[in-house]
Amino acid sequence: MMTEMLIPLLTAAVQSGTPILFATLGEMFTERAGVLNLGVEGMMIVGALAAFLVSLATGNPWLGVLAAGCAAAALGALHGLVCLSFLGNQVVSGLALTILGVGLANYLGTPYIGKQAPGFYAFDLPFLSTLPFVGKIFFKHDALVYLSYVMPLAFWFFWHRTRTGLALTAAGEYPPAASAAGLNPVRLRWLGILGGGFLVGIGGAYLSLAYTHLWTNGMTAGRGWIAVALVIFAFWRPGRAVFGAYLFGGVMAFQLRLQASGTQVPSSFLLMLPYGLTIAALLFSALRGRGGSSSSAPAALGVNIEPEQ
């Protein structure tokens, strides 16, 4: 009886956690290279719109995903231009990016409100979906969810076992050391911004092509900001990001179910849950972080690379 209620909820948690997972990993990628990008919300919604428009025009949702990644990375490139080339303040530039991105998506998307585009649909993974309990929760989803399962492992491998990954970490920890080792920290940070932006865009694409198949203005509803918080909650580690994203996915799914069940609790309070949980998650990681290791944030996060004299 209990599992019968639990399985649909957990399945929905994975589904609504997936866009947050992509966005969190994307922001983590950028931050580990030392760039704080608060434009996630803007990049995500621009990605969602690009995915929707391209899928609508071509009929191919994969092209939509590609377009989403490119569009979000292009918006991220503005952040790179302002912060890496013109040494502007990273916090303010990121905020500007969010204002611009949300404006852009709602402006260009308004004629398409309520229209449908071809998107992704769930299919069972052979064998795995027949596993008891786990099979129903994790292996009856769409292709993008399956893609998201591979990402955290791939990132762990990238950051710890490849030259580029280690160089990227150096650019985030101590750029002068990276320079001394013959690396170009500015170029590495560009990689961090563009690569991270691409992933954030895929998160947006998930919202407009898989989570729903239609366009609504403001459809990210703060998920980009939740991703920024989750990077902190995850201590910049991909494994914990998965846990955090599904936790938020679970709360969002639970909230929707409770609303649909016609509960007495006013919907405004239910809608507050993910935002309240974000603060709670930061509280939790602050309390945890105080006990043991010092801050796990990249040491040069948010600090621009000044020109040599």
Partner: protein, 353 residues
Amino acid sequence: MFGLTVITRQEPPKWGSCLIFPAALALSLGVSCLLLAAQGKPALGGLIILFQGAFGASYAVVDTLLKTVPIFLCSLGVAVAFRMQVWNIGAEGQFALGAVGSTWAALTFPGLPAWLLLPLMFTSSAVLGGLWAMIPAWLKLKLSINEIVTTLMLNYIGILILDYLVYGPWKDPSSYGFPMTKEFPAAAIIPTFADSRLHWGMVLCVVCALLLWVFLTRTRLGYELKASGESLRAARYARMPHGFLVLLVMGLCGALAGWAGLMEASAVVGRLQPSLIVGYGYTAIVVAWLAQLNPGKIALASFFLAALRVGVENLQLELGVPAAFGGIIEGLILLSVLAGQFFNHYRFKRSAS
């Protein structure tokens, strides 16, 4: 890059702000025009409609002045916080809570005379907005929790609290299902000048700005606040009360943003409803940065961005351009000004090689 190297300037060039800002503005408006053209709308014609909307008639200028008030109040607080390197982006939520606080007083004590009710409303909105802003300040001080994320999350929550009240307990039973409270009693409305739509809140703006200026430049605490923004370590070494200052500044931010909410509810709309929330809190961030966190320039920048909003409303009316167009221009201006400030601090020199 391109045979150029970057050199740090000893002091900003004289032409700095008078060249950077117009250039950034021209670039932003140019790109926005291209976007208009992309949707098959007249690019140059759109620009003209935008300017006509903002400055073309006396009622347009009045509209602009009315919108300047909340943007200015929010931005004043934001700028002081940014000076201290406290990244408060929660003016939007503090605005909502301020509007809620003033509405509570107006609906609970409808029988009071104006000389009692208005001060009560100012107090309740300042307290509620201020406390709302002090939550993230306290979390930052006690647990070093990033205030950017918490202030932003509290925006969403604050707006939902307002929604809950106007859809639920405070809903006017005779509003035909529309989410709004009853109209405020006459004593709860901030009076206007003679028969114009301009209200006394504008005078309050000027008073707030002057008081803040005196506080920042003429008091010990104000000096410590500035010092602590420039170098936290030096300020700690000099035993300045950094924690107290952060709480104070955030409380001030919240109170000012709260008053902005009060004025929208009381003087402009006359009741509490969700449409009060139009993003002034985010525009305030753009304004604060454009004005280089300088209280005097904030007045000018607020007026300018208010004009932009009125102009975009005219575009909406005449060409059916979505309201989001304003966000695009704001974002572009902020990005290009940020990039342009590079030339205040650095210059290019041709490489020797």
